[in-house]
Symmetry: C3
Subunit: 106 residues, 3 copies
């Protein structure tokens, strides 16, 4: 049994949560703020059997991985008349896998 | 030394916290929201010596375990005139026990 | 690789965060409230390579350790005319070091 602490961008959090729920993987969302790399973030605490770690990582990757996205100039500059859409990096997930000794449900 | 991550229902959180404090077991409450099993919840981060894990689990069980409770019909339906009290499950705690390498206090 | 859960006083949190960032040590701040020892607190979740654990602990100690501080009487009593400044303990950090099996970045 492993605990995964998965830190994702807020914009990807609901997609990740829905995909985990669909796979019947329980995830508790901890309210978290900034690492020094990014201001806002969402931390999921997930516990799964060892043989589901890879599936869980695949779900997180699928829904939160770093990717490029076109952003309309109006989104990042005021005088956007002659500007072209910009390709920016969004998303990105950091996952720590910790050993779990015991799981108890009362 | 072990870290216990204990996820309980919000309605049981203050009872759990008071009982742990009475037993001089330190608990930090992390603000958390929903697993897919339940919308609101409270996560306690507890660290204890190995020989106090069982006592800590007993306290959590005593104060947060799943149990049945009668709910007045007015609480769950609008037109409750002919309804009878309903037996519903409340509470429930999930606890993960993790190994701790080191504990430091400055 | 180790995960450090560091619980510090809110008044020391921004100093700790800035010092960790300066050392390029990523820290995610979890919103937390009270252990029974103290009402407010801040929990940092930090993951570092084994050979940086000591440096991380030193930074936390430097910025959040228990120390004495003079407090003006007006801060703790109403009728402070004849009172003298009081030496009080402030700060204090509790750090748990947990083993990490795996670190993944997508
Ligand atoms: Ni990244
Ligand atoms: Ni349950
Ligand atoms: Ni202390």
């Amino acid at each position: 049994m492993k605990m995964l602490m998965a830190i994702v961008q807020p914009k990807d959090a609901s997609k990740v949560q829905a995909a985990l729920a669909k796979a019947k993987i329980g995830a508790t969302k901890l309210q978290s703020t900034g690492g020094f790399l990014r201001e806002g973030n969402t931390t999921f605490m997930i516990v799964v059997d060892d043989d589901r770690v890879d599936q869980t990582l695949a779900i997180i990757k699928e829904n939160a991985k770093t990717r490029e996205q076109f952003v309309a100039p109006s989104a990042y500059i005021d005088n956007a008349a002659n500007a072209v859409p910009m390709n920016v990096q969004v998303g990105g997930a950091t996952v720590f896998v910790l050993p779990v000794d015991q799981f108890i449900h009362f």
